[in-house]
């Protein structure tokens, strides 16, 4: 029986603020899962802490709401132990790029075949609006006592530098486009990263829905244009095809340059994609030939209640 979008929704009451950008992201994840027809019990959504951390409770798949900054650690462990699962990790920008930044960088080096979505809104929402790692230096959102004293981190740039092999940005109010990005990210063979711009209607009074829509740029309504534009509509070519050093460097550089664009023009879409880098699970298989057929989660470890592992050769080598 084909699964419907509603099958991916739980009946848990969603207590995000009205107008929160997070709704669009959850909808997009559910739409993507439904469109891909991923069985509910073959998918796991891991989430961090904060408003976005509740995401896993709203999606009717396995859901693991973890700890602040640590979502990638749990998610990678699960994927490595059971590589058949579709694993999506989700968390806020404070979660992933502040307290969890070390794991972000390390995950890039590992390239485990899964997807990481950052709900990027520039504030720590659930603790009432402190500055998060993507808020720019000198900016003052409404609950900050004084302007932000830290520079911001560039999520796309950091992902590029860390070795993520699929890097894209979405906008939470363009749900269809975001859904398409999620499908590409999940289908990508390797670690995919999605930076999702997500206005916080309660605490971020700078990067609001209207701001993204460009209402402040020109006065006349008819001349208005959104700050956001799509890379694919500009003929941007993010894919590495040959894995030559020259090509990789070129694609990495252009992604990095694009990631610096902000202000009046903000790109969304795919910045970089390289499936020629081996996913971590493949690297394990190179060491352990039957890893995929007999992954840790699948292994039978006992016979009649006793150990069935034969360690006699190792014991022989210790025998005197």
């Amino acid at each position: 029986m084909a699964l419907k979008l509603s099958d991916y929704k739980t009946d848990v009451h969603n207590d995000w603020c009205p107008g929160c950008g997070d709704f669009g992201i959850v909808n997009a994840i559910q739409m993507a899962l439904a469109e891909m027809g991923i069985e509910r019990d073959k998918a796991a959504i891991f989430s961090g802490i904060g408003c976005s951390g509740k995401t896993s409770h709203f999606i009717n798949t396995y859901g693991v709401h973890t700890l602040h900054g640590r979502v990638l650690t749990f998610a990678q462990g699960a994927k490595i132990a059971n590589p058949e699962m579709t694993v999506i990790a989700a968390g806020g920008d404070g979660d992933g790029l502040g307290i969890g930044a070390g794991h972000f960088v390390a995950a890039g080096r590992r390239n485990v075949d899964m997807t990481y979505i950052i709900f990027d809104n520039g504030v720590y929402g659930l603790t009432k609006g402190q500055a998060s790692p993507t808020l720019k230096l000198g900016e003052k959102t409404k609950s900050l006592p004084s302007p932000n004293t830290n520079s911001n981190v560039n999520p796309i740039g950091l992902a590029v530098a860390s070795g993520f092999t699929f890097i894209a940005r979405g906008y939470s109010y363009d749900v269809r486009h975001l859904k398409d990005l999620i499908i590409q990210a999940v289908n990508h063979k390797g670690l995919s990263f999605l930076d999702v711009l997500q206005p916080c209607p309660t605490y971020n009074d700078l990067n609001t829905r209207d701001w993204y829509a460009g209402t402040d740029l020109v006065e006349e309504a008819q001349k208005r244009h959104s700050r956001i534009y799509k890379l694919e509509e500009q003929g941007f070519e993010p894919v590495v095809h040959y894995n030559s050093e020259v090509e990789v460097n070129e694609k990495v550089s252009q992604a990095l340059i694009k990631s610096l664009e902000w202000g009046d023009k903000i790109p969304i879409g795919v910045f970089y994609k390289n499936e020629l880098v081996s996913p971590y699970t493949q690297r394990i298989k190179d060491k352990i030939p039957n890893y995929f057929e007999n992954s840790p989660a699948k292994q039978n470890i006992s016979k009649n209640g006793h150990s069935n592992t034969d360690i006699s050769k190792i014991l022989d080598s210790l025998e005197v």
Binding site: T61, T66, Q76, Q299, K303, G305, V320
Partner: protein
């Protein structure tokens, strides 16, 4: 004690092959039927600082080191300066005669406080601050000196083998020292040749050079040295004996009991276990295709713990291995595993704290920290193994506890155990039972992961099985695993989880909670690696007609208060022995059993206890001459 009780010490700069020298010596002795207890001491350093290895050889099973050294094999000056006074009258020192003029000031790795003490001693005996000076003291004490020019040996070998490179190959000093030692005690030379052949089996050319060097040095000792008063001629070997290193006990236990995922971050002395697991990551399985352990080196201990939990959620037996500082980073996640009822095993090879403390030295420093680790109340098990042989079987048990009670288990080991080498009965994997508790293979409809059940344990699904969908959260949750802040449900969930502590005490067999080696008027209560020195010290006292009881605690949390109280009802004087400053177990004991200890024998020099010093303290206690708090100091 048996007729042979012989302690050999080898020392040298780190990186000079002290450990491989000790391995050769231990292996030869074990091959020749002797029981071995060896222990390595080293600095937090890769090259240059002093390291040494003490190997005790006996005809009967031994469980610890003694203070007395019978034969010391040295090839540098520092070893002599640091250990000359440990060699007893009638013992011997093999040393490099080219070093006789070396002054203490020539040895840059002799640290200030030690040099000061040594100078004082030399001054008081009116000796120069040189190797010759300390050796004179040894000689006056009745120690036989065996000078050898290591360089001349190399020069002769270079000529014999027509290999001029050998002349400068100081790397061979360790093999020379070992072979001289074995010649001196008249160990039959075949086993030396065989052992070297085994060790270098993949490099036949190097094996040949080493064997030639060994034979030459062995013959040198038998020809040139006068008789040494100790001989090791070999005895009948007990069948099924293994020579095993500390960390191999838990590693082999993990392989045997089906741990198939281990994540870790490098830390002394824990990483050896993970490296050993990875070196043996493909596993043979009886009547099945090969299995494997995914061993993942992570970016920090937080990730190691997170990955292990993520893996455990898939139903895989999962673990991490660390030491105190690493465990400190894991504690937030420990609480998450607690509230989410995730079975996971954290092997903690403790070392000396606080902070980085003595990074490569021993300490039983983490008992109270692990018992109280994590914020908030949640059930967990803290379990301590007494020796390497035990640790193999205990590893199987702790994975069962973890699965049955759905709690995190902290398995306490320590640096003393990690860097010990012992002979023991070959491990029997068939003795390891596997009980996964309420882990489900198939799930019916309307599954609730945290279902409130009579026994407080819910059937456990795993990521990826049909119909088994569940939610986890570090927040309080309802039966499905969704967040709740309802006060009534909160109480139900807390009570359910915490009821597991009683369940644990009821269901873990008493023999696995604590082990009584007899209860006497004077009874020792201890935990972990003190077991070896205690057993040997008790044996020494027994020979003098003194009986001392000993209860070894294994289940440290939840504390088996009733069982321990019943065990100790005939004990009048309680003695706490442990390797930390504050007597951590004593505090835990008092809190649970409401009895005070009469004596504390503590050691926190960073060096493991010897049975000699435990014996000495116990003797003082028996003779009513002891302080309430006896602090042990032996060991360089």
């Amino acid at each position: 004690m048996s007729s042979v009780d012989f302690t050999w010490l080898i020392g040298g700069p780190q990186g000079s092959g002290v450990e491989s020298g000790a391995n050769i010596f231990s292996k030869v002795c074990a091959e020749m039927g002797y029981a071995i207890f060896g222990k390595r001491e080293f600095y937090s350093n890769i090259k240059g600082e002093h390291s040494y290895f003490t190997v005790r050889v006996s005809e009967e099973k031994i469980n610890s080191n003694v203070n007395a050294v019978n034969l010391m094999a040295s090839f540098d000056a520092e070893t002599i300066f640091r250990h000359y006074d440990e060699v007893i009258s009638g013992g011997g020192i093999i040393y490099d005669s080219d070093l006789e003029k070396s002054k203490t000031d020539d040895v840059h790795t002799l640290d200030g406080p030690f040099k000061e003490r040594l100078h004082k001693e030399l001054e008081s005996k009116n000796k120069p601050f040189t190797i010759a000076g300390v050796l004179e003291i040894a000689k006056e004490k009745g120690v036989a000196l065996y000078p050898v020019s290591f360089k001349s040996i190399l020069a002769t070998l270079a000529e014999e083998l027509e290999n001029p490179r050998l002349k400068g190959l100081v790397r061979m000093f360790n093999v020379i020292a070992v072979s001289l030692s074995l010649g001196l005690v008249k160990m039959p030379p075949d086993s030396l040749n065989k052992t070297i052949g085994d060790i270098f089996s993949k490099k036949p050319e190097i094996a040949k050079i080493n064997q030639h060097t060994a034979t030459y040095s062995y013959n040198y000792a038998t020809a040139k040295f006068e008789n040494f008063n100790q001989t090791l001629l070999g005895i009948e070997k007990e069948s099924e004996t293994i020579l095993v290193q500390g960390f191999q006990g838990t590693a082999l236990g993990k392989m045997a009991c089906g741990c198939r995922f281990q994540s870790y971050y490098p830390i002394t002395p824990a990483s050896d276990e993970s490296v050993f697991l990875e070196s043996n990551d493909i596993l043979e399985v009886i009547d099945d295709r090969p299995g494997s352990t995914a061993v993942i080196q992570t970016e920090d201990e937080i990730c190691a713990m997170g990955m292990a939990i993520g893996s455990a959620l898939t139903g895989t037996r999962s673990s991490t291995c660390t030491s105190g500082p690493g465990f400190a980073l894991m504690t937030e996640m420990l609480g998450w595993a607690g509230i989410n009822e995730v079975p996971i095993v954290i092997t903690n090879y403790q070392r000396s704290g606080p902070s980085t403390g003595l990074p490569t030295r021993h300490g039983q420093d983490d008992l109270l920290f692990t018992v109280y680790s994590g914020h908030g109340d949640f059930p967990k098990i803290v379990y301590a193994s007494g020796d390497i042989e035990e640790s193999f079987y205990d590893t199987g048990n702790v994975f069962n506890y973890s699965d049955i009670f759905q709690v995190p288990v902290i398995h306490l080991m320590d640096k003393f155990q990690a860097s010990s080498v012992i002979t023991c009965k070959r491990f029997d994997p068939q003795k390891i039972t596997i009980n996964r508790g309420k882990l489900l293979e198939k799930v019916e409809d309307n599954y609730r992961r945290f279902e409130l059940t009579d026994d407080g344990v819910s059937p456990r699904s795993r990521l990826g099985i049909d119909n088994g969908i569940f939610w986890n959260t570090g927040d309080e949750s309802d039966e499905k695993g969704h967040i709740t802040e309802d006060p009534i449900l909160r109480v139900k969930m807390m009570d359910k989880r915490m009821s597991r502590l009683d369940l644990i005490l009821k269901n873990i067999p008493e023999s696995q909670q604590a082990v009584s080696f007899g209860v006497e008027e004077h009874t020792i209560i201890s935990w972990g690696s003190t077991k070896g020195p205690i057993l040997d010290a008790i044996e020494m006292l027994k020979k003098e007609g003194i009986s001392i009881g000993y209860v070894q605690l294994k289940l440290m949390h939840p504390f088996p208060a009733d069982y321990v109280t019943s065990l100790l009802k005939d004990a009048k004087i309680l003695i706490d022995i442990e390797a930390n400053h504050s007597g951590q177990m004593g505090k835990l004991f008092k809190q649970n059993v409401s009895r005070d200890f009469d004596y504390f024998i503590l050691k926190y020099t960073g060096r493991a206890m010897t049975c000699t010093e435990v014996y000495d303290s116990l003797k003082k206690i028996i003779e009513n001459k002891a302080n309430k708090r006896e602090v042990l100091m032996h060991g360089a």
